[in-house]
């Protein structure tokens, strides 16, 4: 993937931010969003365990949270 595409991904994320004032809900419309299952990381324990497995077995880590160091896993 070329650099142009990479930067355009980052750029589009930033652009989204500026156009976001029309998005969203009023505080009293948060009934569904407030559910535990709607949290971006609904199960932190599952995420921690998965991150450890894939950190040990693949060349990529992080993205959603810090990739970090942390173990000499094999």
């Amino acid at each position: 993937m070329n650099n142009k595409f990479k930067y355009s991904l980052v750029f589009s994320a930033v652009t989204l931010a500026s156009g976001c004032s029309s998005l969203g809900v009023e505080p009293w419309e948060r009934d569904l969003l407030a559910k535990k299952q709607m949290a971006l990381t609904a199960s932190p324990i599952d995420s921690a365990l998965d991150d450890h497995i894939y950190f040990s077995k693949e060349a990529s880590s992080g993205g959603k949270s810090f990739g970090g160091g942390g173990c000499g896993c094999n």
């Binding site: 991904l9 971006l40 324990i45 990529s60 094999n74």
Partner: protein, 441 residues
């Protein structure tokens, strides 16, 4: 009916007692006498500890098995500050690919310690069965509102294995705006790792010495080593943006930059040196660059349908080792009766090889500056399919079970296999089962 009710009450009391004991233990650790409110029979208020625990078993066919236990204690204070403490213990055992290629005869490899050796059967991918390790990890994280709309978080990390120590700190600042529908966040993390492998750190491309035994001559082993230990540091920077789209949908976008500096070679991995007929002549220790810059963009969307919830995320990662990867992760939450649910999970992963990845080294050609035959930095596709079932217990606690199947399919990065290697399996699939039980109380 009376009996059943009594039993329920007893159960509840027992569960409360466990929680109370853990709460006391946690507060004792913190040197605090507050927070013992969970002792009371009052309904749990915000100002008490909540515990998430899980046990996970990971097993690869014929290779590594790992058991991991994790407990997270979280306390939310009246001012919405959050203290989170996490303890992880895992034990690893089994065999791991050492980087060598399969041959039509038995191969003998020296153990990483230099003491003793192991044989690999004809036709088999060489696996080192030396791996036994126990790891203890501790994390603490404090999160609080700093001033209106600004939330700060800071944490520490400590992980210790027999031959490995990792210390880390992190800090995060989040700014909410647009009626808290939008959030910008910025995070920093720094890790310092020290690695002291048994047998020391091999010299790059040193020839694997013959094993020595008790009271034997270890000069050959010593000559192949450059030091007893080495280390690396990892600095991560992350920018995040979260946006609520409407009553049903929330999205997140992250950009991460990671700089890893230091000893990035795997001291346990070797490369086979083969001749034009594909016959192994020697084994050489691998060597990787001492820097790596990784970057990634991550996007996630969660959508709440009438009942079900769809969670989709995508990560694109690239680094200066020329590794690119794509990860798609999808979960679908399906509520059932009585607070129970099913959650199918699908994950797809694909990576390209590091520029210095090669499955073996050809004799007679110049030794490259860097080389590794570790399949984990080679071309690879992997997928995970899984299912989670969760239920609400009568006392309000959560119990869940997760079963997943993970398959890695390493692929050729375009290296021709000469002579005898043409008939060998150089890119063996790895199949693993992940089983997990979680309990929150």
């Amino acid at each position: 009916m009376q009996l059943i009710s009594d039993k329920k009450i007893n159960n509840t009391v027992n569960k409360k007692s466990i929680k109370a004991a853990l709460t006391l233990a946690t507060t004792a650790l913190l040197g605090s006498v507050q927070g013992a409110t969970a002792n009371s029979a009052e309904p749990l208020t915000e100002d008490t500890w909540a515990f998430d625990s899980a046990f996970l078993y990971y097993s690869e066919a014929d290779r590594v098995s790992a058991a991991e236990a994790i407990i997270n204690a979280k306390k939310i204070y009246a001012d919405e500050s959050i203290l989170s403490l996490k303890l992880t213990i895992d034990a690893l055992t089994g065999a791991s690919a050492n980087g060598g290629v399969a041959q039509s005869n038995v191969q003998t490899f020296t153990r990483p310690s230099g003491k003793g050796d192991y044989d690999v059967k004809a036709g088999d991918t060489p696996l080192d069965d030396t791996f036994h390790d126990t790891r203890v990890q501790f994390n603490a994280q404090w999160t609080q509102v700093l001033i209106q709309n600004y939330t700060g978080s800071a944490g520490v990390h400590l992980s210790k294995e027999y031959d490995y120590l990792s210390l880390g700190v992190n800090g995060n600042l989040a700014y909410d705006f647009n009626k808290k529908n939008s959030t910008f966040s910025f995070g920093l993390s720094y890790f310092q790792d020290t690695f002291e492998p048994e047998g020391g750190i091999p010299k790059p491309f040193a020839s694997m010495p013959l094993a020595y035994h008790d009271n034997g001559d270890k000069s050959g082993h010593d000559a192949s080593r450059q030091s007893n230990d080495d280390g690396k540091t990892t600095t991560d920077v992350m920018f995040g943006f979260t946006q609520v789209i409407n009553r049903h949908m929330v999205t997140q976008f992250n950009y991460s930059y990671s700089f890893v500096d230091g000893y990035l070679t795997d001291p346990f991995k070797i490369l086979s040196l083969v001749d034009d007929d594909g016959i192994v002549q020697d084994y050489l220790y691998e060597s990787r660059p001492d820097e790596r810059i990784k970057q990634s963009v991550f996007a996630q969307a969660k959508y709440h349908f009438d009942e079900t919830i769809l969670d989709v995320s995508y990560r694109y990662m690239w680094d200066d080792w020329q590794i690119d990867s794509h990860t798609v992760d999808t979960r679908f939450y399906i509520p059932l009766d009585n607070g129970s649910y099913l959650e199918p999970h699908f994950r797809f992963y694909q990576q390209t090889a590091a520029e210095f990845y090669q499955p073996f080294i050809m004799q007679g050609k110049a030794i490259p500056e860097f080389a590794s035959a570790d399949y984990r930095i080679g071309d690879m596709t992997a997928y995970t399919v899984g299912l989670k079932y969760g239920m609400k217990l009568s006392d309000g606690n959560d119990l869940s079970f997760r079963l997943e199947y993970y398959r890695q399919t390493p692929e050729s990065a375009g290296h021709n296999a000469p002579g005898a290697l043409a008939g060998m399996e150089l890119y063996e699939n790895i199949d693993a089962i992940i089983a997990q039980v979680s309990y929150s109380f």
